[in-house]
């Protein structure tokens, strides 16, 4: 009995139940919402957010008030660089992706170094980087987005080539499994949890705190760019603000998944389920013909409500 209660209290299980509940509600209100086709489509959209949330999870786990507010614009920049390079040509996919990842890695490196060497708080550093990357996008594009995704990328995201499922889902699952293994089974993962729990204790135990922190921010930017590239495969055309709005959802996904905002506790599986919950919620609101303002408001309310459940800080009176 206690075992059942413990399982039901696990944030990942709760989040999964919420996702199922939302799909059921949608199916009752709008027949067809819960059809397999519709569900596959929602998972496809969830994969962009899910891939971006990988990096956000790593940064939040690293503790020290770790957060990356630049993931949305970095994803947009990645999408723009990749799509402009490939310009609708399959042969140029690899250079496009490499360019996007290379630039993203530099951005993440700058974030990490600013936080570690200059001791700028993570939210200030990444918020400042958001401005810089936004400016970089204007410089690269000159204000006009004209990149086009290569056909192979489009069919990876929009096709149903792998056992009748979109290839991007397979990519997402593989990335998720690899990240979970890295977090749970490698030295890097152990060090990440260690610095997230206590920087001081980790430093005294010989963990290279600075190097691990910088790596976390580099990984965050890399996964953001990957998410952006996947997204441009979906939209085919690139926009100047393609993925800008995914920053808040990426944090919300991490919180829903039960990863502690303070760092050191949690994992990626929860964030992936969190990304699905948020995507289902958004589709449900869209299906119910909610206006844009209401969707934005609901997003904020949902995050505050979830934080109120999981993320409350200690009372002063103890």
């Amino acid at each position: 009995m206690t075992r059942v209660v413990a399982i039901l209290k696990d944030p990942v299980v709760v989040a999964a139940l919420i996702a199922v509940l939302l799909i059921a509600i949608g199916g009752i209100l709008r027949p067809g919402f819960a059809s397999p086709d519709q569900i596959v489509d929602m998972l496809r959209v969830a994969s962009f957010l899910g891939i971006i949330a990988i990096g956000q999870t790593i940064v939040v786990l690293s503790g020290g008030e770790g957060i990356d507010l630049s993931v949305g614009t970095v994803a947009t920049l990645g999408a723009i660089l990749a799509s402009r390079t490939m310009a609708g040509d399959d042969a140029l996919i690899v250079p496009g992706v490499l360019l996007a990842l290379g630039v993203a890695a530099l951005i993440g490196l700058a974030n990490g170094l600013g936080i570690v060497l200059l001791r700028i708080p993570p939210f200030v550093m990444t918020l400042g980087m958001l401005g810089v990357v936004g400016g970089l996008i204007l410089v690269v594009t000159g204000g006009r987005a004209d990149g086009r995704a290569a056909p192979a990328l489009v069919s990876l995201v929009n096709g149903r080539d792998v056992l009748g499922l979109p290839g991007i889902l397979l990519v997402w699952i593989v990335l998720g499994v690899v990240v979970t293994l890295v977090l749970r089974r490698t030295v890097f993962g152990a060090r990440l949890y260690a610095i997230g729990t206590s920087r001081e204790a980790a430093r005294l135990s010989g963990v290279p705190v600075r190097r691990v922190t910088v790596s976390a921010y580099v990984l965050s930017s890399l996964f953001a760019a990957l998410g952006g590239i996947a997204m441009v495969g979906y939209s085919q055309q690139v926009f100047l603000n393609l993925a800008d709005d995914l920053t808040l959802p990426s944090i919300a996904a991490v919180v829903i998944g039960g990863t502690l905002v303070a760092g050191g506790v949690g994992g990626y599986l929860g964030s992936a389920v969190g990304a699905i919950v948020l995507t289902v919620l958004t589709s449900l609101l869209t299906t119910l013909a909610m206006p844009e303002w209401a969707r934005i408001v609901v997003q904020g309310v949902v995050l505050i409500a979830l934080l109120a459940v999981y993320g409350r800080q200690r009372r002063l009176r103890s």
């Binding site: 008030e65 957060i67 507010l69 600013g114 200059l118 001791r119 700028i120 708080p121 939210f123 200030v124 550093m125 918020l127 400042g128 980087m129 958001l130 401005g131 810089v132 990357v133 936004g134 400016g135 970089l136 204007l138 410089v139 000159g142 204000g143 808040l248 944090i251 919300a252 919180v255 905002v261 206006p291 844009e292 303002w293 209401a294 969707r295 934005i296 408001v297 609901v298 997003q299 904020g300 309310v301 995050l303 505050i304 934080l307 109120a308 993320g311 409350r312 800080q313 200690r314 009372r315 002063l316 009176r317």
Partner: protein, 327 residues
């Protein structure tokens, strides 16, 4: 009597004050002088009465939001929704005034009331629900900007001529915008000794110790957000006075820039240290830097990038100037 009081003050606290507070404010003052000199050297007509008036008018929203942010940060919090509050209160004011001069006071009241309401939401969420200010206000920003879209779906609306006119007026050759900034400084100097603001500072410095000393920690946090919301409401009016129409999307950069202004102004993000006057200086430094970027003829598409780099550099400089302390 005063003499004995001065002598009784422990010498260490004086040394600490010179070391801790002064370093940051000297750096801020130096940066301010450099920025002013560079801006005037590049654009001499900044010094004409018209130049001063229009420059200060465009700075005013950021200056006000920086003061609002400073109060929250000194209280140990953070407000990433400041820009969204400015947007929401400005569109609410536009819709209530409907361009009629007679409704100006109603509009002012509406803007401030909107700001207070938003501050109340933030304050309750942070103090009563005990959520982390960073993520909580990031989330509430989403709520406020959604509501701004509801109130005014697309940019537009007319601002009463009396608001835009007053904004451009000068009293005894001193531009209104300068007077308003001076009024904010004087207001702070008068109010900083009040119980509420001392409690806010104590709460930011050490919540646990404040709690043990019977400081109403929760109410102080709430008060800091409400006060900051009210000032953001005023900033919303300043935005209207500048633009002459409403825009639900305005304020995107205000949250970041106000945090940067606070940091440049020598206010510690961990709370308890600094003064809004530093934040005003920080805001003017940042705003002047973008004036400088405009005047050296940077291509339009490079300006956003340059502005972003300036913010990062300013943050880096302040980080280097601040005393190193392991938390």
């Amino acid at each position: 009597m005063t003499a004995t009081a001065t002598q009784a003050a422990p010498a260490t606290s004086f040394v600490d004050r010179v070391r801790g507070v002064r370093v940051a404010s000297w750096a801020t003052a130096a940066l301010l002088v450099v920025a002013v000199v560079a801006a005037i050297a590049l654009q001499p007509n900044l010094l004409t009465p018209y130049g001063v008036a229009s420059t200060f008018a465009t700075f005013l929203p950021l200056v006000l939001v920086a003061v609002a942010q400073a109060i929250v940060v000194i209280g140990g919090g953070l407000d990433l929704s400041a820009g969204a509050i400015v947007a929401l209160s400005s569109v609410v004011a536009v819709q209530t005034m409907r361009g009629e001069d007679g409704l100006l006071l109603v509009g002012v009241a509406a803007a401030v009331a909107t700001g207070v309401a938003c501050g109340l939401v933030n304050g309750l969420v942070v103090s009563r629900l005990r959520l982390q200010p960073l993520i909580a206000t990031f989330a509430s920003a989403s709520i406020f900007s959604g509501l701004a879209l509801l109130v005014l779906p697309t940019p537009g609306g007319t601002v009463p001529a009396v608001l835009t006119g007053t904004f451009r007026q000068a009293i005894a050759t001193v531009p209104m915008s300068v007077l308003l900034v001076v009024a904010v400084v004087l207001g702070w100097l008068v109010l900083r000794r009040t119980r509420v603001l001392r409690h806010i500072r104590a709460t930011g410095g050490d919540p646990a110790a404040s709690y043990a000393s019977l400081v109403p920690v929760q109410s102080s946090q709430l008060a800091s957000y409400v006060l900051s919301g009210a000032i953001c409401g005023l900033a919303g009016l300043a935005v209207l006075g500048n633009a002459g129409s409403g825009d639900p999307f305005i304020g995107g950069d205000l949250a970041l820039n106000s945090v940067a202004a606070v940091v440049v102004g020598g206010i510690a993000l961990r709370g308890g240290i600094g003064s809004p006057i530093g934040a005003i200086a920080g805001a003017i430094i940042l705003a002047l830097s973008s004036t400088i970027l405009f005047s050296i003829g940077l291509p339009t598409s490079w300006r956003a990038l340059a502005a972003g780099v300036v913010v990062i550099l300013a943050l880096a400089l302040s980080a280097l100037g601040a005393p190193r302390r392991r938390r």
